[in-house]
């Protein structure tokens, strides 16, 4: 007993004066340069394992879909359908045989490619990356197969509330702004797409002047610089400048409202409560992250503590800011059994109110700051993570000071500022509710929170609600 007591005492004392004095995390050295065609290149040597990682970011996201939702996504997938020198089959075989990987993705604003290879295979695989990006052939038969799989996938998504709620929410909150575009597309818009649509989308949007490639891993920087310059100098600039569709103003909701997505066989209610958020270049970005950590960003957060730990209403509740270039959203996200829909929503709102009414105290702010700092270095531990970070730096226009000053910026957040962050960035009213569940059981409850628009999960998301 005695021994235990003294240990307790020491730890409490330590806690009161606790500061993370572990050596601060600094971004390893990297080199950044531009090719003549405008492509930005980042190189970072990392010799821990004999592997090279590539990350490419391109201005070819779903915001450029126009009326053809799903086009950006299918174009990214179709890059791997064969190149001038390799059929799709041959390409797959080459990659698999070397244990290498080339993957393409698409998000709202951008398209991306990531690749991973053994460093001894770099000449071969980086050449494949170049072929996939610069010389895709967009085989018509492969496109039809991809489209068919996507259509089944879109139908399958409707089996899982978690998979569709985000798209509904964005559509609900962004309205007609291109940030409301549904990345995966809709059955009605994907069905008529042809390989010519993809070719056109590629020509218009896969442009070096708006793109960046970052390479991190086991290589020699000078050799890599020569290789990349040789391969990617061939990439031709676009003939006309891309229009920045996302720069249009985002119309913010003027009243509290509810979108109810009926799923007849639902046993749970999955819901988001949200509001407009921040853009990635917000000067308070780091401070907002710290405050959100306390509110809904970790296990002991106010939301999870109330909805999971205290009441057992759910397996998990969280909140986050989704930040894009020109705007973003804030969302509280959780799920509960159908019959506990009302207490769960009320609890979530109560916690949000509490944040505004009570603000933060010094101890919890210190805890959040320690937590955010302590969990920071593992986010940039591997060469793959670092390659991804560098393309993010390009896309959102920040540099290594974000990493190197992170601790300092976190430490600089005092209680007064933190409480200002709450009133400035966390919504109080005009909340937007999106509920996926069994309408017959929860519609009455939904009406409590605002005007209800009801749609069927089996139907397609509409343009506006």
């Amino acid at each position: 007993m005695q021994k235990k007591y003294s240990v307790l005492f020491i730890i409490l004392t330590a806690c009161l004066t606790f500061q993370l004095h572990a050596q601060s995390y600094k971004l390893p050295l990297y080199e950044k340069f531009k090719l003549k065609n405008g492509l930005t290149v980042y190189l970072m040597e990392q010799h821990e394992v004999p592997v090279i990682n590539i990350s490419v970011i391109l201005p070819a996201g779903a915001i450029y879909d126009g009326e053809k939702a799903g086009l950006a996504s299918l174009t990214a997938a179709a890059l791997k359908h064969g190149t001038n020198k390799y059929t799709k089959e041959k390409l797959d075989e080459e990659l698999d045989f070397h244990g290498a990987f080339i993957g393409t993705t698409v998000s709202k604003e951008s398209a991306g490619l990531s690749a991973r290879m053994a460093s001894k295979d770099k000449n071969k695989i980086i050449n494949l990356v170049k072929e996939v990006l610069l010389e895709p052939t967009f085989d018509a038969m492969e496109f039809e197969k991809e489209k068919k799989r996507l259509l089944v996938g879109l139908e399958q998504q409707k089996e899982s509330p978690r998979s569709v709620i985000g798209a509904y929410f964005d559509k609900f909150i962004y309205g007609d702004h291109v940030y409301g575009n549904i990345v995966q597309g809709k059955i009605a818009t994907v069905t008529p797409l042809t390989v010519d649509d993809v070719k056109k989308f590629y020509v218009e949007n896969y442009l070096p002047e708006g793109a960046a490639i970052s390479i991190a891993g086991d290589f020699n920087k000078d050799e890599m610089k020569t290789l990349i310059s040789r391969l990617f100098d061939l990439w031709k600039k676009g003939t006309k400048p891309q229009v920045n569709l996302a720069s249009k103003p985002i119309v913010t909701p003027t009243k509290q409202q509810v979108l109810l997505i009926n799923k007849d066989d639902a046993k749970e209610t999955t819901f988001y409560i949200g509001a407009p958020g921040i853009s990635r270049n917000n000067p308070d970005f780091v401070s907002i992250e710290v405050v959100n950590t306390l509110f809904g960003g970790r296990f002991t957060s106010m939301l999870n503590d109330e909805l999971r730990v205290n009441t057992g209403l759910t397996y998990g509740a969280n909140s986050r800011f989704n930040a894009l270039k020109n705007g973003g959203t804030f969302v509280i996200s959780t799920f509960t059994a159908g019959k506990t829909t009302e207490p769960a929503i009320d609890k979530a709102l109560e916690v949000l109110n509490k944040l505004h009414t009570n603000g933060l105290d010094q101890k919890s702010l210190t805890s959040a700051k320690n937590y955010v700092k302590g969990q920071f270095p593992p986010r940039y531990e591997t060469a793959g993570q670092l390659a991804g970070l560098m393309t993010q730096m390009f896309w959102y226009n920040f540099d290594e000071s974000f990493i190197n000053n992170f601790e300092k910026n976190v430490d600089g957040l005092n209680l007064e500022k933190a409480n200002q962050i709450i009133s400035k960035y966390f919504p109080k009213d005009k909340l937007q509710f999106v509920l996926v569940g069994k309408s017959a059981d929860i519609k009455k409850i939904a009406e409590k929170y605002g005007k209800v628009t009801e749609v069927q999960i089996k139907e397609e998301p509409k343009k506006g609600f």
Binding site: I11, A14, F18, E89, R149, Q156, L313, S367, K373
Partner: protein
């Protein structure tokens, strides 16, 4: 500087990297029987602690199904010194985060923290292992949490229903019969006494292996372990799981209804435990079938015949003989029987013609890249070392794995297919909208 600490790739590719040796994992065992494996790695100012307990749903029986997983949750709900909520609050205050997972065979607790918090983590773990305090009120609210966990899994993924039911049919007697999450009615009826007995029996230091990787010093870890963990008394060895699943003598089939776009199919064959000599060949066979777009099943079923939109295989380590699973989702307007037949045709090809040398080399190359991925992070290191220690009986077996994989021949792969992919050894599950047709 981080360094790779295993010789895996030397054997596979012949690159000479002489600095790699088993000695990079340092170990000690406390007087109470808890074994520690430590890897010093100062690439980031962080460390982790993974605690592997030899307990899982395999140790349950009907009436208390799901209790291992529930217990995993209760380990966060208060002990003597750090009462309810304080485990998580203290860890997060000190910059740490945690999680845990429960499988059929093991329950694993994972702590990730700045290495400056190492002593606090020891104190927290020591407290809950020595004197967990199970509060009846916490039992009730946590029961709601795991019921929600079960329900949200079923709500969002048809696979969960399919695999639980198929596994239940493949194992009629062995405890792999029930799902890790438990039966809903058992979940509603666990008693406090069950939890207390479980704690005493399975959460003994001698039933646990702890792995620590990161910016720490072996000598410091040893001192902390002696201070915080060694005083905890050991317990009698937990009862053995005696049930051996009788040999399956005929194909088993099961059909499930759920409102899905196209039918889901899962086929399971009984295969041996991780310590069996066939493990490595089966692992390669699994990759031959579904790893990458050039793999046999992806190329044939998704690409060429367009019978499926997804296909994957699952084969992993287990304490007792478990399952080799091949699963897929049928394409639009395809009958699941046609997909099933096409899978068998591909397996028959391997049984008759075997695979090519180049295919085998491809998988060996992929295994190498997979390995690099596992040792690139301190978490990958801890998880893999711990898994080898528990499932293969000794973390050093990880050093033998390269040789074991390299020894596998095309002939071995053919033998595996013939030995295990038989009709009478398989259990077939189908999940679809219309089960009346």
């Amino acid at each position: 500087m981080k360094k790779i600490f295993l010789p895996f790739f030397i054997l596979l590719t012949g690159i000479a990297q002489s600095q790699m040796k088993a000695d990079d994992v340092k170990t000690f065992t406390l007087k109470n029987g808890m074994k520690f494996l430590v890897v010093e790695d100062n690439s980031i100012p962080n460390a982790n602690m993974y605690l592997f307990y030899r307990v899982g749903s395999r140790n349950e029986y009907q009436g208390i199904t799901g209790l291992s997983h529930f217990f995993e949750h209760m380990m966060f709900n208060g002990a003597k010194k750090y009462g309810p909520k304080l485990f998580d609050q203290t860890m997060e205050f000190n910059g740490g985060a945690n999680n845990a997972y429960t499988r059929e065979d093991v329950t694993v607790y994972t702590n990730w923290f700045p290495s400056s918090a190492t002593e606090v983590i020891f104190d927290l773990e020591g407290d809950r292992i020595s004197s967990l305090s199970i509060d009846p009120k916490m039992v009730e609210s946590e029961r709601g949490v795991v019921l929600s966990e079960r329900s949200t899994g079923l709500e969002n993924s048809p696979w969960q229903v399919l695999f639980q039911t198929t596994q239940g049919l493949a194992f009629l007697e062995h405890p792999y019969h029930w799902p890790v999450i438990g039966y809903e009615d058992d979940m509603k009826n666990w008693k406090l006494a069950d939890l207390e007995r479980y704690f005493k029996t399975y959460y003994a230091p001698n039933n646990c292996v702890t792995v620590i990787s990161g910016n720490v010093k072996f000598d410091d870890i040893k001192k902390l372990a002696e201070k915080y963990i060694e005083p905890i008394p050991s317990q009698p060895t937990p009862p053995k799981v005696n049930i051996v699943e009788p040999i399956q003598t005929g194909e088993r089939r099961v059909l499930m209804q759920k409102d899905v776009a196209t039918p889901y199919l899962g086929i399971s064959w009984h295969v041996p435990a991780a310590t069996h000599e066939d493990y490595y060949a089966l692992s390669i066979l699994s990759d031959i079938l579904t790893s990458g777009r050039s793999s046999r099943l992806y190329s044939s079923l998704i690409d060429k015949k367009q019978l499926a939109t997804q296909v994957f295989a699952n084969f992993g380590e287990s304490f007792d003989p478990y399952l080799f699973v091949i699963a897929g989702v049928t394409a639009k307007n395809v009958h699941e029987n046609d997909l099933e037949k096409a899978i068998y045709e591909e397996l028959e090809k391997i049984k008759k013609e075997g695979i090519t040398e180049s295919e085998l080399q491809k998988i060996k190359n992929q295994k190498l890249m997979e390995f690099y991925g596992q040792v690139e992070t301190i978490n990958g290191k801890s998880n893999n070392i711990g898994t080898y220690e528990l499932f293969f009986g000794d973390y050093k077996k990880m050093f033998d794995a390269p040789a074991a994989y390299n020894k596998v021949t095309v002939e071995d792969i053919k033998k595996m297919a013939i030995k295990y992919f038989t009709k009478s050894n398989r259990t077939v599950g189908v999940l679809k909208s219309n089960t009346e047709e």
